[in-house]
């Protein structure tokens, strides 16, 4: 009925149970695979029989490969503008899709908050449409990823409900988009055009990334082998020891510390003869190491016009030089196309990826999963010897993180003259498995075990029929009707237990005798078990019409009726509609536009429904388990009896919640000059997201943290600019030079809040109508008080300036009293800055001479700020250390000088106003940057040796990545910032790598 109920003791065989579930699930998966394979074999059989018959070349029908979903996207002749340039990433050690598109497509912003390979990253297309209040909202803002037309299912954030801390999602928390090998990709297109998004349905409202893999095709067999090998290089960091920390703190104690404060000086800093802390700071040798990374993949394509296949297999390792983190990926993909009858094409794909992640050894991440804060008085030592004895304890650790990602489809396409039909059944199944055992030596003589098994399963069935009417020679009308049904299941089983008998027995041993008194009672572990499952479905019916006049003018219209199971029954369905016009100016005016090779204008508008990711809104008023509190979120019973109540903590849900929707308008201009050697693409867009749900604060006297109300309206608008220039075209010169660049300017604005409110406060965020939704809310610093008489006194009451009632004294920050009431509080905080960049972009250039070429890629984000929690907590050392909570954890990188703190004013760290609190403009830093992401030098043997026809390509290259950054940001890297613009210094660095590789096509 209700999850998050703890059944300790009633789930005796933790591992067994999870194993059992796994088997059931893998059986489900197997069924799917078998079905898909079966279809494949049918196709294959046909292929075999066809091979003989078609080898006579009597049949010249060209088979059109289908994935069952046809989306017309790119404007013809603007490949360089529409598609992500892959030539650079194919020679880079990138592991995730996010890294592939980062800086390579206008309007796409990628957040890479940690350099840990395979960790989660975010993709936003054209900004965000609602404020990122927590990690759960983050999920709603991600772009939809389509792999050969399959919308990929991602980890649903509902698992955060049972988590005490949301640093990492429970389970492997592996970036599922790390499963895509760039060598298997034919093209990537970022879809931003509203009309095209409308055809994809509500999953694509946030924009879509359309990945087309390389597919089977006819022709002589082709073999491609790609491989690289290289290293993530050990960075040069500034390690420090306790003497540094001591000298950093001493001035505070000298100036503000009382005797009692001195007596409480932290033990690890107290004794300057302690070599563990005051000795050499050489921990870096153990933490940072050169790490090998490699990729080897092979593809085989072949077959006839009527039946063909492709196989792709790869093994990849990506690693970071920090903390021995790595990810291994193994891929096997099969593609089979067959055309048993001339007008019918059958296509299928099966793509299997296995991801194994070696995660970091951060204390914070470990404690967050253990839900237990031990005594944190003494941190790890900067000394190698003691630190390595700590690392040796990890030999006893089990920390296995595996994800299996499988996608497949079976598609039919029939073309009967003017009528055509496309149908497809597709699935995306990905499962995450995490097994953890941490020995007693890592947690106050208590060991910890946890098991996670979860899966996301998506099944899509779609059918489209289209009919073309040739009104006359110049006018054509294309009508299309489609149906799409998508069913998702998100499931996890999570169990954890403490305090096992020793570090060798890692399972729960129980008495199996049914007559015994302790039958199946856990002997050693007390298990906390959390099963949860969520299902949702989306149904769509759509009609599309395209009218074309002389290929000069095209008019499009799409209408769809979409229903989601996550909506309440009376608002289940919504109607979306869109329209667009394409005008080929060049064709229209022909020779009158001599200077243009191509010139087209495309305007479109769409209303798109927005999906809810959680099924908890579909029933209205509800009852949930809500017995826990901030630090103990999972309590589900009282005196052992489960209890439920209204959702006071997660917020009131009422009735009559309408579909949120997005109105998007786009004007695209494409221009080509100089025989196509200079191309421009400019898109101007406006996006209005309306009727969105927001937990609105309500009077606390009703018990709720908030009430979900719809009416949030956010506007995003901006410009995408993409340019491609062949400055020295390849075919004319031995020396060639091409440049491509993309930029996006985006700004967001809060247009309306639910219930006509002008502003509201949720946690540490203040939303004000007319301001940005990604703004910070901060006190404004003015500097230091030098003399007592600078502290103003209210002449009416005689009360001196105070911070929420606490008098400001010398040593406290000078915060501006904006409203002049001699009282600093929330009213004096400013909504300022923005954590999403105003401008993002990338710039690539290729310089080639004969068989050599030199590629360079730059990436930039400008006009945004970060809130420097790292500096705040370093300076607020008194409160951070005293509170002994998850934020007081000191990693080994505590002994690394990540930024220079000397520029900050000296305040009294013991003051009750908490002078180094985070919410002040003192910690707002400009985070604009420009990075040289990669340089590649390559040599094409086939070009140098053009007589050898059997060798289509043989490219040798060396690449360096993450080479340098230009920024005014003082921390280690302006990219290593949380989704909400908070820089904590916890992110692992983006490793500098050097690889050497070869790409061979035979």
């Amino acid at each position: 009925m209700v999850n998050a109920v703890v059944y300790p003791g009633y789930k005796p065989k933790l591992t067994d149970l999870i194993m059992k579930k796994r088997m059931i699930l893998s059986a489900t998966a197997q069924k799917l695979i078998v079905t898909a394979l079966l279809f494949s074999f049918v196709g294959n059989a046909n292929a075999q029989s066809d091979t003989t018959s078609t080898s006579s070349k009597s049949d010249t029908a060209i088979m059109s490969v289908t994935n069952g979903v046809k989306v017309e996207t790119a404007t013809a002749g603007f490949k360089e503008i529409s598609f992500v340039p892959l030539r650079y990433v194919l020679k880079q050690p990138v592991i995730s899709l996010q890294q592939i598109v980062k800086g390579n497509a206008a309007g796409v912003h990628v957040q890479e908050p940690s350099g840990e390979p395979g960790s989660e990253q975010n993709i936003f297309i054209r900004g965000i449409s609602s404020p990122l209040l927590s990690k759960r909202e983050l999920f709603d803002q991600q772009a939809a990823i389509f792999l050969n037309g399959i919308p990929l299912a991602q980890d649903n954030p509902f698992a955060y409900e049972i988590q005490k801390y949301d640093f990492n999602r429970i389970g492997p928390a592996t970036n599922l988009l790390a499963a895509i090998n760039p060598d298997n990709i034919e093209s990537i297109e970022v879809i931003k055009d509203p009309l095209t998004l409308a055809a994809l349905g509500p999953v694509a409202t946030n924009g879509a990334i359309w990945i087309t893999t390389k597919n089977a095709h006819s022709g002589y067999r082709e073999i491609a082998v790609n491989s690289y090998y290289g290293y993530a290089l050990k960075p040069s960091v500034t390690p420090v020891n306790a003497a540094y920390e001591n000298s950093f703190r001493k001035p505070f104690y000298d100036r503000f510390g009382t005797l009692a404060d001195r007596l409480n000086y932290p033990p690890y800093l107290r004794d300057s003869t302690n070599a563990d802390y005051y000795g050499p700071a050489n921990w870096g040798d153990k933490y940072y190491e050169n790490a090998a990374l490699y990729n080897l993949d092979l593809s085989l394509t072949g077959g006839s016009e009527r039946a063909n296949f492709r196989f792709f297999g790869s093994a990849t390792k990506n690693a970071s030089s920090a903390d021995r983190t790595a990810i291994n990926r193994y891929t096997g993909s099969f593609f089979i196309n067959a055309s048993p009858i001339k007008w019918l094409t059958v296509s299928s794909m099966l793509n299997y990826n296995r991801l194994e992640r070696t995660r970091n050894r951060n204390i914070r991440d470990r404690l967050a999963e253990q839900r237990y804060i031990p005594d944190l008085t003494n941190p790890l030592t900067p000394n190698k010897n003691v630190y390595s004895s700590y690392l040796n304890e990890f030999d006893k650790v089990i920390d296995d993180n595996t994800s299996n990602v499988i996608q497949g489809y079976f598609a039919l396409s029939a073309n009967l003259n003017k009528f055509s039909y496309r149908g497809r059944i597709a699935f995306d199944y990905n499962e995450g498995i995490r097994d953890v055992f941490w020995p007693t030596t890592l947690l106050e003589k208590n060991n910890f075990v946890s098991n996670y098994f979860g899966y996301n399963q998506r099944m899509v069935v779609s059918n489209t029929a289209s009919y073309q009417i040739d009104v006359n020679r110049r006018q054509k009308l294309m009508l299309e009707a489609g149906q799409n049904f998508m069913a998702d299941t998100y499931k996890y089983d999570y169990a954890y237990a403490y305090n096992g008998p020793n570090d060798f027995v890692k399972i729960n041993v129980v008495n199996g005798d049914p007559n015994a008194a302790d039958y199946l009672l856990p002997a050693a572990f007390r298990v906390y078990y959390f099963p949860s499952k969520m299902r949702s479905a989306l149904a769509s019916f759509s009609g599309k019409a395209t009218y074309s006049f002389d290929d000069v003018l095209k008019l499009h219209a799409v209408v769809s009726r979409d229903g989601s199971s996550n909506m309440q029954p009376d608002n289940r369905w919504t109607t979306n509609f869109s329209g667009g016009i394409e005008w080929d100016v060049k064709k229209h005016y022909g020779d009158a536009l001599k200077d243009f090779n191509a010139f087209s204008v495309n305007a479109s508008w769409a209303r798109l429904g927005k999906l809810l990711n959680d099924d908890r809104f579909n029933a209205g008023a509800q009852y949930r388990v809500d017995m826990g509190w901030g630090n103990e979120p999972t309590l589900g019973s009282y005196a052992g009896i489960p209890g439920i109540s209204r959702p006071y903590t997660s917020g009131w849900v009422g009735y009559g919640i309408p579909w949120a929707y997005s109105e998007q308008a786009n004007l695209a201009v494409r221009m080509g000059f100089l025989n196509g050697n200079l191309k421009f693409g400019i898109d101007v867009y406006n996006r209005e997201d309306k009727q969105m749900l927001l937990p609105v604060p309500v009077p606390t006297e009703w018990g709720y943290t908030g009430a979900y109300k719809s009416g949030l309206h956010v506007r995003n608008n901006g410009i995408d600019f993409t340019m491609f220039a062949n400055i020295l075209p390849e075919d004319k010169h031995e020396l060639s030079w091409s440049v491509s660049a993309n930029f996006n300017y985006n700004k967001n604005k809060l247009v309306a809040l639910p219930g006509g409110l002008d502003e509201l406060i949720i946690g540490n965020n203040k939303l004000v109508v007319g301001k940005r939704i990604d703004a910070f809310w901060l006190l404004k610093n003015f500097g230091n008080y030098k003399r007592q008489n600078q502290i103003t006194v209210n002449p009416q009451t005689g009360v001196a300036l105070n911070y929420r009632g606490v008098p400001i004294t010398l040593g406290d920050p000078w915060w501006l009293d904006l409203n002049g009431d001699y009282r600093i509080n929330d009213d004096d905080k400013l909504v300022t800055g923005n954590y999403l960049p105003k401008v993002t972009g990338g710039f690539s250039t290729t310089l080639a001479y004969k068989a050599f070429s030199l590629d360079m890629q730059f990436y930039t984000a400008l006009g945004h700020q970060v809130l420097n929690q790292y500096a705040s907590s370093r300076l607020d050392f008194i409160n951070v250390e005293a509170s002994n909570n998850i934020n007081s954890v000191k990693e080994i990188t505590f002994w690394e000088k990540k930024m220079d703190l000397s520029g900050y004013p000296m305040y009294n760290p013991w003051s009750s106003v908490v002078p180094y609190r985070l919410d002040q403009s003192l910690f707002l830093d400009n985070a604009s940057f420009l990075k040289l992401r990669s340089i590649t030098l390559s040599y094409e043997l086939a070009k140098a040796n053009s007589k050898n026809k059997s060798l289509r390509s043989c490219l040798f290259y060396i690449t360096g990545t993450n080479l340098f950054t230009i920024t005014s940001f003082k921390g280690d890297d302006p990219e290593l910032v949380n989704y909400n613009g908070i820089y904590t210094g916890y992110g692992l660095p983006l490793s500098r790598t050097v690889i050497a590789g070869v790409r061979i096509e035979l």
């Binding site: 299902r535 229903g563 509800q622 009282y638 309500v698 005293a882």
Partner: protein, 523 residues
């Protein structure tokens, strides 16, 4: 135009066909889209079964426990301010101890927010309004219904008393008005307390002395919700728990006649709830433990039973007070709060008659051994207060794993006896007051005291409360009552007169409801 009329007809026919097919599809789809969430219970079909009533009632207890446990706030409100404890290094706790309740620490901001209590109140109101529906289930008999409603009303009354003690005037809400989210002003504290008192007086007769206990008259459900009386213990609100709350409401308002009447009822009927005065050894080993058999002595408490998976780190004074001692190794070197030696010495004077088993010199020992029932590491600068120490159920390799299972005990028989002594002393029934006081002193190894010119009875009673109830969240409220009675401390008089005895109201509460005004003292 090349399109012929027949084509047109055909296309219309096709369209109709398509539309029909679509309609059929849509109908089928609607069923496909009807997916219920497995993570919650819908409104529809709720409040119609025995289980709904049970889980709703347990929800109330759980919410109330959460309100008290969050940030260990029960002790921030009741124990720390002007109390015996000092903070070792935590600046936020130091601010509370010093009475700087407007200091800007997240924990204090959380403790000034009354939302969690109003969640209890809203849930109670809802339960009272809706639970009658459960009678549709035959298993949910009238006797269940009566008892459950009585508990819900008692929980609501207790909650109102608890928050009125912290914030003074608080909004009085007795209906759910779901979805309205009206802004309501604060209600006069006396009105709130008299509402709570009336409610408790009304429901007390409907509450049993023991749940699933011996009940020849068959008034209460037997085997209540499938638990026998030794499983329930005194976990749900008993009749005596309701009387204990009544007694405290009366005492807080200075109506000591009523307090005497209510406490008398408890003292006279204590055995019916299996309440006894406990020995010092039992006090420090079993009384606070949520998972001990036959421990009925938590007269009104909120349990964290290890055996049913309710172990937590937060919500226990142990989280603040425990640390490594030679007798009990823990990994934490220093506690967060401690009672300094001077305070221990003044609270447990050597010349107090007899030997205080809680803390004192054991007369039987040759080397003048000190009783360590309350404190360990007495010789160190920071002694460890260990009166309440239930680490991981006190089983296994206890001590190394700092999770706790002590209940939040609001009151127990010793506390009631001392309250009765206080009431009787105020009413001038000196002998009876001494009798109650000496009963408590007796079980702690102290000699009886009798009237003497140098002895002030009230001072003596409050000194005993300070010793007996140390660490149980009473100290601040005791100081308030004591100073209201005595009015000898000018600084405290100022606090009483200006409303400084109440906590400030969180900014978040003020932001969300324009009709709530900050307590005058904290403006």
């Amino acid at each position: 135009m090349t399109l012929t009329a027949t084509n047109k007809v055909m296309s219309v026919g096709k369209k109709l066909l398509l539309a029909t097919v679509l309609m059929l599809f849509m109908g089928a789809c609607n069923k496909q889209l009807d997916i219920k969430s497995s993570r919650q219970a819908d409104e529809q079909g709720h409040w119609d079964s025995y289980e709904d009533a049970r889980s709703g009632l347990m929800g109330l207890y759980g919410l109330l426990r959460a309100a008290l446990a969050d940030n260990n706030a029960h002790w921030m409100w009741g124990e720390l301010r002007n109390g015996d404890f000092l903070s070792v290094y935590r600046t936020d706790l130091k601010a509370v101890i010093d009475g700087k309740l407007n200091a800007s620490f997240p924990t204090i901001e959380a403790a000034t927010n009354w939302r969690r209590f109003y969640a209890v109140i809203n849930a109670s109101n809802l339960f009272i309004e809706r639970v009658a529906g459960c009678k549709a289930d035959q298993r949910y008999t009238e006797s269940y219904y009566k008892l459950d409603v009585a508990q819900a009303r008692a929980i609501r009354a207790f909650t109102y008393f608890y928050i009125a003690r912290i914030w003074g005037d608080v909004p009085l809400i007795t209906a759910t008005k779901e979805g309205s989210f009206e802004e309501l002003p604060r209600t006069n504290q006396n009105a709130v307390l008299s509402f709570a008192e009336q409610e408790l007086v009304q429901v007390a007769p409907n509450l049993p002395f023991l749940y699933s206990g011996v009940d020849p008259a068959q008034i209460y459900p037997n085997n209540y919700y499938g638990y026998n009386s030794s499983q329930w213990l005194n976990a749900p609100v008993t009749r005596l728990a309701a009387y204990a709350t009544l007694a405290h409401i009366a005492a807080w308002q200075g109506r000591y006649i009523d307090a005497a009447v209510y406490t008398e009822y408890i003292v006279n009927n204590a055995s019916k709830s299996n309440l006894t005065l406990v020995s010092t050894t039992n006090l420090v080993t079993t009384l606070f433990n949520s998972g001990v058999n036959n421990n009925y002595n938590q007269l009104l408490g909120f349990s964290f039973n290890r055996n049913v998976g309710e172990t937590t780190s937060e919500g226990h004074i142990e989280q603040l007070t425990l640390a490594n001692t030679t007798l009990y190794p823990m990994s934490k070197p220093l506690p967060e709060i401690y009672v300094p030696k001077d305070s221990i010495a003044s609270a447990f004077p050597r010349s107090n008659g007899g030997t205080d088993q809680r803390f004192g010199v054991d007369p039987a020992s040759v080397q003048q051994t000190i009783y360590t029932n309350y404190f360990e590491n007495y010789s160190a600068a920071v002694p460890v207060f260990k009166k309440i120490r239930v680490v991981d159920g006190n089983v296994g390799n206890a001590g190394q794993f700092a999770v706790f299972n002590s209940s939040i005990v609001f009151t127990r028989l010793e506390e009631i006896k001392l309250l009765r002594a206080e009431a009787l002393a105020v009413l001038g029934q000196t002998d009876a007051a001494y009798q109650e006081l000496n009963a408590v002193r007796g079980v702690r190894g102290l000699a009886s005291v009798s009237p003497a010119p140098s002895r002030d009875l009230l001072t003596e009673i409050f000194a005993e409360r300070r010793r007996e109830l140390m660490g149980e969240g009473w100290r601040w409220y005791d100081l308030v009552r004591f100073n209201k009675l005595k009015r000898t401390n000018p600084a405290f008089n100022m606090l009483i007169d200006k409303g400084g005895i109440y906590w400030p109201i969180a900014q978040e509460v003020l932001n969300r409801n324009s009709k709530i005004t900050q307590n005058a003292y904290w403006q």
